[in-house]
Every structure is written in structure tokens, then in C-alpha cells.
Symmetry: C3
Subunit: 116 residues, 3 copies
């Protein structure tokens, strides 16, 4: 029998903020508060990732990968500042940071894969 | 013994349109028809994803994640229109939509992870 | 009991170059040499992926997916040249290639998922 999939509703009914299958968790976050700075938005998006992982029964120490999309590569140091304060230094994920267009007013969007 | 990997040939011999390992399926699609609009290209790319999932024995109700890359963020509503018509509303994937450069004439490229 | 996660240190202590969980390996690479051309950087990044896969006990014949980020879509043929020389033609990954902003002096960044 195929393994069950659990989905956690996102801001829209046409996508999920987190999905669990076997012992893998997939989550995406932007800030829900639309702060004006990359630092503040990264902090909020990471807090939302924490919340999603908690909903699915895991936490940041079990993140496998993080892809961090930022709207302005010049602001990467500000994203890094929030990341470095937040990350579990004993369990750092594989991470890539890429400059892309995001929908206004988002400056940062984060996608993670974690283990349960 | 390591689990077998099944690969489904893509447009080029140096990459696959879909790869299956254990109960995970990874698939990528652009439109094969090069329609001029984001709406039409999204519809075609999603149809190609459906086809790949069918080849691998699963379907859109089992998609875990979708990353949708679009060439022009201003056209996101048109991509969303095709997405919303297509998505299994009872089983929405985690999704991120990012504005990136795609190779002409592609306006949309979609990468999904699904469960068998 | 949750499956163990093995992490391989990256250039910074706040992220890993590769992470292993169950029989999946996640790895990211940029060139460590900052060559001036896309072809040379792609070759170096792919060599670094080979090295990471070797550290984790697998190799390029078991890559499931590759996302190739390039800073200039006009240079995609040069990336492809390095890819085509390197790829295991009998086992081509699912691949997407996207134009994004990367941090100077990086012209190419590659994220792969492989099976053990």
C-alpha cells in the first residue's frame, strides 16, 4: 500500500505550506508580515519554517536542505545574518542562495526538506 | 542492495524527463509546443507532468512539491490561472513560484517531486 | 527511531556541502577556483559534486536530479558542453537549468539529489 501523504494548508487552498510523506517533510515559507528589510523577512520566514516543522513533528536540527531565494543578491549578507542567528550550528543543512524575482512585497522565500 | 533507479528519457539524451527511486518520482517539464502565452505554456507543461507521472505509475494527487519557474513575475496570475484549473484541490502540493531567466521560447518550467 | 543524518562540512560552518539521510544524498557545489568561464566553472563544480558523492559512498551514476543555476542564460551552451562531457550517458538525471543571480564571482551553482 502506498505511504500516506499529510498536507498542511497554506495561505491559498491551491497549495500547502508543508507536506509529509514517509519520513520526509517539505515546507515553504515567506514572511506573513511583509517587513521592509531582508533581515526581518528572513527571520519571519525562518520562524514560519520552524512552525511548519513543529506541526509535522520535527525541528530545525533535522533539516536536510534549504534553498533560499532572495530578491536582491546585494542583500545576501542581511539574509545570512538572520540565517546564522537561527541555524542549528551542530546540524547545518545543505544550502543554496539564489537571486530571483519574487512577488512584491516578498524579499525572501525559503524551501526546506527535513527528516522526521 | 541499493534500490533500483528508473529513468524516463527526455528531449535530450543527457537528461531524463522523470526519474524514479524507491517510492519517489522526480519530474521536470516545459511545454513541447512553445505557445506564446504563459497560460497556454503552463497548461502544456502541467499536461506533460501528468504524462510523466502516469509513465511512472502515479498521478497529480500524489505530488508532494512543485517549483514553478516563470520568466516574467508580472505573468504570475496567468500561471496561477492554469495551476488552479489543474491542481487537485483535495491534495495541493507545497509550491513555490520564482521569477528566473529561462531559455527562449520557454516562459514556464516546472519541477515536481511526487510519491508513488 | 528516526533515521540518522550525516552532514559533510561546507566552506562555512553554517551550512553543509552534502547531507545524507536514509538512502538519499543532497549536495551543492560551486567552483572553489573562481575560473573566469562558465565552462571551467561548471567542470569544477561538477568535480566537486563527484567528490561529495564519493564522500557519501555513491557516484554520478546514481544522481536522481540536478538543478543547474547559471548567472547568464546566454552561456547555457558552455554549461551544457561541460555537462555533456561529464554526465553518465547511461544514467542521465532529471535536470533543470535556470538563470538566476549568483554571488560574484560565481557563474554556476549546482544542487543534486542522489541515491546511495
Amino acid at each position: 500500500m502506498p505511504a500516506p501523504i499529510t498536507r498542511f494548508p497554506g495561505l491559498s487552498s491551491t497549495r500547502s505550506r508543508a507536506v509529509v510523506h514517509d519520513d520526509l517533510v517539505f515546507a515553504v515559507a515567506v514572511t506573513p508580515h511583509n517587513e521592509p528589510t531582508v533581515y526581518a523577512q528572513t527571520k519571519s520566514a525562518l520562524a514560519r519554517i520552524d512552525e511548519s516543522l513543529s506541526l509535522t513533528g520535527t525541528d530545525k536540527s533535522r533539516i536536510l536542505t534549504a534553498i533560499v531565494y532572495i530578491a536582491d543578491m546585494a542583500q545576501k549578507p542581511e539574509m545570512n545574518r538572520a540565517w546564522d542567528e537561527w541555524v542549528d550550528m551542530k546540524n547545518p543543512p545543505m544550502r543554496a542562495c539564489l537571486g530571483v524575482d519574487l512577488e512584491h512585497p516578498h524579499l525572501v522565500e525559503i524551501v526546506v526538506t527535513a527528516a522526521k
